[in-house]
C-alpha cells in the first residue's frame, strides 16, 4: 500500500500534501528549537561545582573537577550529555591556555558521594527526580587512568594574569551517554596548576536501550 502524507497547514487549517525533493527526500521544517522538547520534558539538568579545583598539567588518573554517577539500576535511565563547561573564577599570576577533558567509565563503578544539587533547565525546581549523583572535585574516578581521559571542545586563553573571565564551553549534543552505574568526570587541562576552575555538566535523562 502506498500513501501520500498529508498534514494540516498551520494557521490556514487546510490539508496539504507533504513535499519531497526531486530525489525523494522528505522536506521538513523544525517547529521548535533543537533542545526545546527535551528541556520541556523536565529531565534536563545542569550542575556546576561550588569550589574551584586546580587544573592539570598532565593527563590525570582519578582526579576530576566534577564527577557524575548514574544511580539507576541496570536497564534504567541513561544520562545523555548535552554540554560540559568550566569557568575560571580566580585569576593567578600566569597567562594560560586551557581546555576540557573528560572521563567516561566503561563498566559499573562505585557510587560517588552526592555533594552538588542539579538544577532543572526548565526552571521548575532543583533536583527533581534525577538519577544523577553529582560529586565535588577530587580523586574520585575509581577506574580512571591517563589513557581514559579525552580532550573535547575548543581551548580558551587568558590574556591578562590574575584575572577571571575565561570560559570553556563544549556542546556535546548526545555524543556521550552515561549508562546506569557508570562514572563520568570532567577536568581542565592547563599550562599551570595554579589556575583553578569550576566544572559543570548539562544533561538530560531518558530510558534508552543501550546496545
Amino acid at each position: 500500500m502506498q500513501s501520500v502524507i498529508n498534514a494540516i497547514q498551520r494557521i490556514l487549517g487546510t490539508e496539504k500534501s507533504a513535499h519531497a525533493t526531486e530525489s525523494g527526500e522528505l522536506l521538513v521544517t523544525p517547529s521548535g528549537a533543537k533542545f526545546e522538547e527535551i528541556t520541556r520534558g523536565g529531565y534536563s539538568f545542569s550542575v556546576i561545582t561550588t569550589t574551584a579545583t586546580a587544573s592539570l598539567v598532565a593527563l590525570p588518573t582519578t582526579a576530576a573537577g566534577i564527577g557524575l554517577w548514574n544511580s539507576a539500576p541496570d536497564g534504567g535511565k541513561s544520562m545523555i550529555v548535552d554540554a560540559i563547561f568550566a569557568i575560571h573564577i580566580v585569576g593567578e599570576a600566569t597567562l594560560n591556555q586551557a581546555g576540557l577533558i573528560y572521563y567516561m567509565g566503561s563498566g559499573r563503578e562505585a557510587a560517588l558521594t552526592q555533594a552538588l544539587i542539579p538544577r532543572k533547565l526548565n526552571s521548575l525546581g532543583p533536583n527533581s527526580d534525577t538519577v544523577a549523583i553529582c560529586a565535588a572535585g577530587g580523586a574520585i574516578m575509581t577506574s580512571g587512568a591517563a589513557t581514559s581521559w579525552v580532550p573535547i571542545g575548543p581551548t580558551a586563553n587568558i590574556s591578562l594574569v590574575s584575572t577571571p573571565g575565561a570560559i570553556l564551553w563544549c556542546p556535546i549534543d548526545g555524543r556521550l551517554i552515561i549508562p546506569p552505574g557508570r562514572q563520568f568526570g570532567v577536568n581542565v587541562m592547563c599550562n599551570d596548576v595554579t589556575n583553578t576552575f569550576n566544572c559543570g555538566v548539562m544533561w538530560h535523562e531518558k530510558q534508552l536501550t543501550l546496545v
Binding site: 500500500m1 502506498q2 500513501s3 501520500v4 502524507i5 498551520r10 500534501s17 507533504a18 513535499h19 519531497a20 525533493t21 530525489s23 525523494g24 527526500e25 522528505l26 522536506l27 521538513v28 521544517t29 523544525p30 517547529s31 521548535g32 528549537a33 533543537k34 533542545f35 526545546e36 522538547e37 528541556t39 520541556r40 523536565g42 534536563s44 545542569s46 556546576i48 561550588t50 548535552d82 554540554a83 563547561f85 569557568i87 573564577i89 585569576g91 538544577r119 532543572k120 526548565n122 526552571s123 521548575l124 525546581g125 532543583p126 575548543p154 580558551a156 586563553n157 587568558i158 590574556s159 591578562l160 584575572t163 577571571p164 573571565g165 575565561a166 570560559i167 570553556l168 564551553w169 559543570g200
Partner: protein
C-alpha cells in the same frame, strides 16, 4: 499493515516515493532555515540592555546585566531561550578575557518590573504580545533567584587583543536548552577580567504554550 510513504515533488508536482538509506534511515531535507518557522510565527523576540555596565570579576548574586521575567500565569506561555549574547562597549587599558554567565530561577518570584522593549525577530514591530518583562542593567534579581551557586558559564569566552578598544562579542546559541517557566526569572551577566570592561547583554527567545513537567 505497512504503508510506503509518498510525497509530492516540489515544483514538478508529481508523486514520488520517499527514500531511505540502506539501513532504513528516512531521507529528509530541511525546507526552511533552522529557526525560520519559529521566527515567522511572530513569537520570537530579542532584547538587549540599554544601559552599559561593567562586567563582574567574581560570581555575582543578584547583579545582572539583563533579567527576563515570565509574566504569564501558571500554565501560560513559556519563554524558550534561543541565544544569549553581549557586546563590549568600552574596553579598559589592559588585555583581558570575558565570558557569559546566567542564572535560571527555580521558583516563582516577584516581577522584575522590567521596562525594556523586546523587538520581534520577524520585523513586525517591538514588544507585541510578549510575556517577557526585561529588566535593564542595574535591576537586581530577587535574592532567591540570584545566588552565587546558580550562576553558570555558557558559550566560549573571548579575549582582548588591543587594549582600550571595543569589538568583542559574546555569543552563545542556547537552542532551547533553557526555558523560563511562568513566574520565573533569568539573569544574564558577563564575567570578565576587569571592571573597566563594560557591556550590553541580551537574549533571543521564542514563546510557546507548552506543558512543563
Amino acid at each position: 499493515m505497512q504503508t510506503l510513504v509518498r510525497a509530492i515533488q516540489r515544483i514538478l508536482g508529481t508523486e514520488k516515493n520517499v527514500e531511505c538509506s540502506e539501513d532504513g534511515g528516512l531521507h529528509i531535507t530541511q525546507s526552511g532555515a533552522e529557526y525560520e518557522e519559529l521566527t515567522r510565527s511572530g513569537y520570537s523576540f530579542s532584547c538587549i540592555s540599554s544601559t552599559t555596565a561593567a562586567g563582574v570579576v567574581a560570581l555575582p548574586t543578584t547583579a545582572a546585566q539583563l533579567s527576563i521575567w515570565n509574566s504569564a500565569d501558571d500554565g501560560g506561555r513559556s519563554i524558550i531561550i534561543d541565544a544569549l549574547f553581549a557586546v563590549n562597549i568600552v574596553n579598559g587599558a589592559t588585555l583581558g578575557q570575558a565570558g557569559l554567565i546566567y542564572v535560571l530561577g527555580q521558583t516563582r518570584v516577584a516581577s522584575n518590573a522590567g521596562t525594556l522593549v523586546p523587538r520581534k525577530l520577524n520585523g513586525k514591530g517591538p514588544g507585541s504580545d510578549t510575556v517577557a518583562l526585561c529588566g535593564d542593567s542595574g535591576t537586581a534579581l530577587d535574592a532567591v533567584t540570584g545566588v552565587a551557586i546558580g550562576w553558570t558559564p555558557i558559550g566560549p569566552s573571548v579575549n582582548v587583543s588591543v587594549v582600550s578598544l571595543p569589538g568583542l562579542v559574546l555569543w552563545a546559541p542556547i537552542d532551547g536548552r533553557l526555558i523560563i517557566a511562568p513566574g520565573h526569572l533569568l539573569g544574564i551577566n558577563v564575567m570578565t577580567s576587569n571592571v573597566e570592561n563594560t557591556w550590553r547583554a541580551g537574549a533571543m527567545w521564542h514563546e510557546k504554550q507548552i506543558t512543563l513537567v
